[in-house]
């Protein structure tokens, strides 16, 4: 009886060990880049430089980035992607003409026709800076946001991922349904589409209502 119990327990532990081991392997193997062509060089200090061209695809932990061109610089731990760049982070998809990826902290700097498409939010902008530690998306240069019934543009749009909160800063103009609004700054919270406006906010209601 005891032997049978011991065997069963040992088997369970063995399966758990195999499962954890394979899980660990799959997680640790998630840092790679594939391309049609790679060019390896070393700079004067001996640091590696790798240039990747055509069908470039990088998987880095939970981030997947594709593009036509990428340059890895070991010295500064940066990968720069260019031409038709797409980033997939979970359900979120970002695209732009250029992306600078910091390999140490996994922050992103995107520029040139930046687009964000998420489940319930769309943003267009000239540039984006993403801070992974604080999980903040900071859109700059004539940014435009679509969130549920709200459509607005501003000089800058900051989105806090953890808090489901967006802050529109500078020359804010937008609509919610048929109503128009302008403000220096507005905040959109994901609590029944509550909009909090600060600064010189002005609401223009539709005449039919």
């Amino acid at each position: 009886m005891n032997i049978k119990f011991f065997c069963k327990t040992a088997l369970i532990f063995l399966f758990i060990f195999i499962f954890l081991f394979s899980l660990n392997l799959s997680i640790s193997a998630q840092k790679n880049l594939t391309a049609d062509k790679l060019i390896f060089e070393q700079d004067e200090s001996g640091a590696s430089i790798v240039e990747a061209t055509e069908n470039v695809k990088m998987i880095y932990n939970e981030i997947k980035i594709t593009g036509h061109y990428a340059l890895f610089e070991q010295e500064i731990q940066i990968i720069t992607f260019e031409n038709n760049v797409k980033v997939i982070m979970g359900k979120r998809e970002l695209s732009s003409n250029k992306l600078i990826f910091d390999m140490e902290n996994e922050n992103l700097e995107m520029s040139g026709d930046v687009k964000l498409i998420d489940e319930d939010i769309k943003v267009n902008s000239g540039s984006l800076s993403y801070d992974k530690t604080d999980q903040i998306l900071n859109f700059l240069d004539d940014s435009h946001i679509e969130y549920d019934t709200i459509k607005a543009s501003a000089n800058q749009i900051k989105i806090w991922e953890k808090e489901d909160r967006a802050l529109l800063i500078g020359n804010v103009e937008g609509t919610q349904g048929k109503n128009r609004f302008t403000a220096d700054q507005i905040e959109i919270l994901n609590r029944e589409n509550k909009i909090e406006m600060v600064g010189s906010a002005k609401l223009i209601f539709d005449s039919e209502e």
């Binding site: 193997a29 840092k31 790679n32 880049l33 594939t34 391309a35 049609d36 062509k37 790679l38 060019i39 390896f40 060089e41 070393q42 001996g46 590696s48 790798v50 990747a52 069908n55 890895f72 070991q74 390999m103």
Partner: protein
């Protein structure tokens, strides 16, 4: 009585036949062994003529880079047109400076075409960089080194695999290329 004598005669004949066969084969094998010994010693003489740790020096087009190719065995074919070497190792120099070293199983140097091809688990070491391939080819006139088959490249931080590579002779710029659907891949350590 008659049968008993016949049996004895038959027994004697049988013993004599065995002795004759035994003597014949012992002489035959002795002669054969001596032949083999002679052949072996002739081959050994040939090997000694060709192969005592032969070194080959190859230069690039402007003679700025030199390969010292060493082999335990070298065979000369086609009246000196082809040099075939086995168990090779080589050292590449730029002037007096050692740039990299390498090893492989076999090398064929075409003296007239100025092409050297190395085959079989080729491994090149340059500082902390290691480049591996099943085959590498160097055409002396264009100073380009090409490798193919299970290409692997390792540094302290990177691992690259590809189907082919093309590089300068200094190994300062290495291009990794895919064949068909097998993409080149970088993995970070």
């Amino acid at each position: 009585m008659y049968f008993r004598d016949n049996k004895k005669i038959l027994l004697y004949i049988f013993i004599i036949i065995i002795i004759i066969i035994g003597v014949y084969y012992s002489i035959y094998y002795e002669l054969k062994r001596e032949d083999q010994k002679e052949q072996t010693s002739e081959t050994e003489v040939e090997i000694e003529d060709y192969l005592k740790n032969i070194g080959l020096e190859l230069y690039n087009s402007d003679k700025s880079i030199k390969w010292n190719l060493n082999s335990e065995k070298l065979v000369n074919e086609n009246n000196g047109k082809l040099y075939i070497m086995e168990s090779i190792n080589f050292l590449a120099y730029q002037g007096e400076e050692l740039i990299y070293s390498g090893e492989g199983f076999k090398a064929v140097y075409d003296n007239q075409a100025g092409i050297i091809s190395l085959k079989g688990d080729i491994k090149i070491n340059k500082g902390d960089l290691t480049l591996k391939a099943a085959e590498i080819i160097w055409k002396q006139d264009n100073d380009i080194l090409k490798g193919k088959g299970g290409v692997e490249f390792e540094s302290s931080q990177l691992y690259i695999n590809a189907d082919q590579f093309v590089t300068t002779l200094l190994l300062d710029k290495i291009e990794f290329i895919k064949i068909k659907d097998n993409q080149t891949k970088v993995e970070w350590r």
